[in-house]
Amino acid sequence: MTNVHLPTAANPGPFGHQQRKNFLFPENYTQFNHGSFGTFPKVVQDDMRAWHDRAEQNPDLWMRRDLYVALNDIRAQLAEFVNCDKEELALVTNTTVGVNTVLRSLPFVPGDRILVLSTGYVSVNQTVRYICDTHQDVKVIEVPVTFPISDKDLLAKVEDTLKAHQELKDGSRIKLGIVDWISSVPSVVHPVKELVELLHSYGALVYVDGAHSIGQVPVDLSHLRPDFYIANCHKWLYSVRGSALLYVAKRHQHLIHPTSITGDYTSGFEKEFGWAGTQDYSSLMSILSALKFRKQFGEDAIISYTHSLALEGGKAMAKILGTHCLTPDDHQVGNMVNIALPIKDLNHLKANTKDFMEILMDKYNVYTPAFRHGDHFYTRVSAQIYLELEDFIRLANIWKEVIDDLNASS
């Protein structure tokens, strides 16, 4: 990504504040937390509305025929985007559904173990807990991870856990490992290819939680070769909320059924996932216009800008706050950067996610999640094409004021 023609924080090209008008923000609002719920351009919303109207012109024709044509087209385009077979893709509502789809389908037997990292997303870890609750002698093995940690050390930690489990020789086996591509809180780009290979080498299936991946990093599933992969299109790809992509390798498809069984049960993966019952499919349809919007600029350009902005913005914020960024290496940052907050007393009553949220929203009309990790509080900031370096500077000054006030109070 060092091509001199690609946009960067210093040279935004088509990006920066000029992009704001393409989105739906009110005048006085700056979105620093794209990573939580995403947002989408006006053209995507207009297109979603057009699909919505179209369905109403003839609901029977739409639901019984045209919908499938459209869904197939979306799968084909996404398959090209992530470099896999269209038949290996299913469209679902979100990552939570995608994770439940696979976990609640796999035939876990007594003695199976599921490996997760402590930094995995709460809904994923709770779903694993549910699986353990509802199956006899199926347990979770958690790899304790505290950042900062390099890729190499992270892999070593996971391997240590795998080895330690082997030593047990208790007849149990690690059936499945769930790994983040880019974790949520804290937000770190993981060495996902090496993790997949490592887990495979110990005989475990791998489910890559790519909730944040598509649109933030290049995705090549033929290269990555996971057993299962889920990605939200409504996070970094700019489609409307409720549009996600589930990848199930062909060799596993016979085992996997939707979280809601429909009339096509036992008719094969494609049919079973082709119809999710009556719902409004316009969120899924919006994937098409999201891809089209991005094509104007090209994936390389978008990713180059947002990544560069996250790095430069993070550094600028750390300087203003007198702290540091969580991740030791630049390649561990995608579009989201975590900056330590200079809180004097970590046990201060008001040093918590909820209180920070209220102050930021009510007093400053901004929001970035603040969370405790290891020995620090961090805030996670999401770079986007509608932001510029000066936004990060403004945010840093807001946080400085908030923390100065906190430190001054008892």
Binding site: P26, T39, Q57, M63, N94, Y130, D280
Partner: protein
């Protein structure tokens, strides 16, 4: 919701007040309603029952919610969404006479059915009772449960219409008694019962069925997919163990908005089809208040739907649609020289099944899945589903506030032409 509807028997009573709209005196209903909806010129919607449709005002309501979210997604999701959903639950609780904390908003009936069935801890020897006329996705879900549990099996009640309310209850009870007589250690744990079945569309004697099943100690899950907006619902009176109903069918909300009823006594064991962060840490309300990141504006459009309907009142809407279905069905049967499926008017809600006078029920074109859909849409720019039942061929027609008797006459003539053509082919 008017409390003047007597619910004292298994029949649904419709007011016969002369001030309520009828096909002869449509009042605010009929073709003048078309402009409130999305139907293009020249297209008449006879199949509201499959996917529903909604008004322009409901779509605007949906877009209002959609846009609100985009103004500040964090504030919306973290602070404002849940109160908005709770308000909708409150409105529906009032509508259906139950406690709002016994309701969960889900996407559709398929999700609701899976939520309950995949949560119940079925044990070896459990049997699930269903009627042969139950919906295909429900049937498949029950099959899935049987496939994934040891010695859990289906007990099916064969239902071939025409049957009276009394006969339907009798058939179900007979099946239960036959099962008891086996004395094989198995027990009917749960029954799936339609309030209004899909194909054929029959309004069942639901109160009598629920009471009878509960008297045998069987849990009752009422598939009320078609109920809300088509018949009055009083959950306190009906007292099912579980109930699911689609708001996007007859209530006019946008697709992807349904409501699941789970009485408090069962809530601790019911979890969503997609487990999320609140699992075991907040109880039923919290577990079901967030389904992960999605577009909640379709669910919130229930508010717009209720608002639209309040203009006319539930009684007026239900009365008009019901009378139109009954009279429209009669008219069509007259034109076709046939009859309607249901012996009694009270077995008809807003959907009526009219027999098609096909000579050969195994005609190859009927066997071809898409043939009739394409023919009706391409040639006549309309659609009503057709299906086999009890050795005959039927069409199911959905009445609505945007239809009039003349529409049923038109449809009758269309079907007459289509069937005569098919019959003539046979003679060649």
């Amino acid at each position: 919701m008017s409390s003047s509807h007597p619910q004292g028997s298994s029949a649904t009573h419709y007011s016969h007040s002369s001030t309520l709209p009828t096909p002869a005196q449509p009042g605010p209903f009929g073709h003048k309603q078309r402009k409130n909806f999305f139907m293009p010129e020249g297209k008449t919607e006879f199949n509201h029952g499959s996917y529903g449709t909604f008004t322009r005002s409901v779509q605007e309501n949906m877009m209002k919610w959609h846009n609100k979210a985009e103004e500040n997604p964090d504030r919306w999701v973290r602070l404002d969404l849940k109160p908005a959903l709770t308000k909708v639950r409150g409105q529906l609780a009032e509508f259906m006479n139950c406690d709002k904390d016994e309701l969960a908003l889900v996407q559709n009936t398929t999700v609701g059915v899976n939520t309950i069935l995949r949560s119940i801890d079925f044990a070896p020897g459990d049997r699930i009772l269903q009627l042969s006329t139950g919906y295909v996705s429900v049937d498949k879900t029950v099959h899935y449960i049987c496939d994934t549990h040891k010695d859990v099996q289906i007990v099916e009640v064969p239902i071939v219409m025409p049957l009276t309310d009394h006969e339907i209850v009798f058939e179900v009870e007979k099946t239960i008694q036959d099962h008891l007589a086996k004395k094989d250690g198995s027990r009917i744990r749960l029954a799936m019962i339609d309030w209004i079945s899909s194909v054929p569309a029959v309004l069942h004697p639901i109160k009598a069925l629920v009471d009878m099943l509960r008297s045998y100690g069987i849990l009752v899950f009422v598939d009320a997919a078609h109920a809300i907006g088509q018949v009055p619902i009083d959950l306190t009176y009906l007292n099912p163990d579980f109930l699911i109903t689609n708001c996007h069918k007859w209530l006019y909300s946008v697709r992807g908005s349904a409501v699941l009823f789970v009485p408090k006594r069962f809530q601790s064991s019911i979890h969503p089809t997609a487990i999320q962060g609140d699992y075991k840490s907040g109880g039923f309300e919290l577990e079901f208040s967030w389904n992960g990141t999605m577009d909640y504006s379709t669910i919130l459009s229930i508010e717009g739907a209720l608002e639209f309907r309040k203009q006319y009142g539930e009684e007026a809407i239900i009365h008009y649609c019901h009378r139109l279905a009954v009279e429209g069905g009669e008219k069509m049967a007259e034109i076709l020289g046939t009859d309607v499926l249901t012996p009694h008017e009270q077995q008809v809600g807003n959907m009526v099944n009219v027999r098609l006078p096909i000579k050969n029920i195994n005609h190859p074109k009927i066997e071809t899945p898409d043939y009739l859909i394409r023919l009706l849409l391409d040639r006549y720019n309309l659609f009503a589903p057709s299906y086999k039942h009890g050795g005959y061929f039927w069409t199911r027609v959905s009445s609505q506030i945007y239809l009039e008797l003349s529409d049923f006459v038109h449809l009758g003539r269309v079907w007459k032409e289509v069937i005569e053509e098919l019959n003539a082919e046979e003679e060649d």
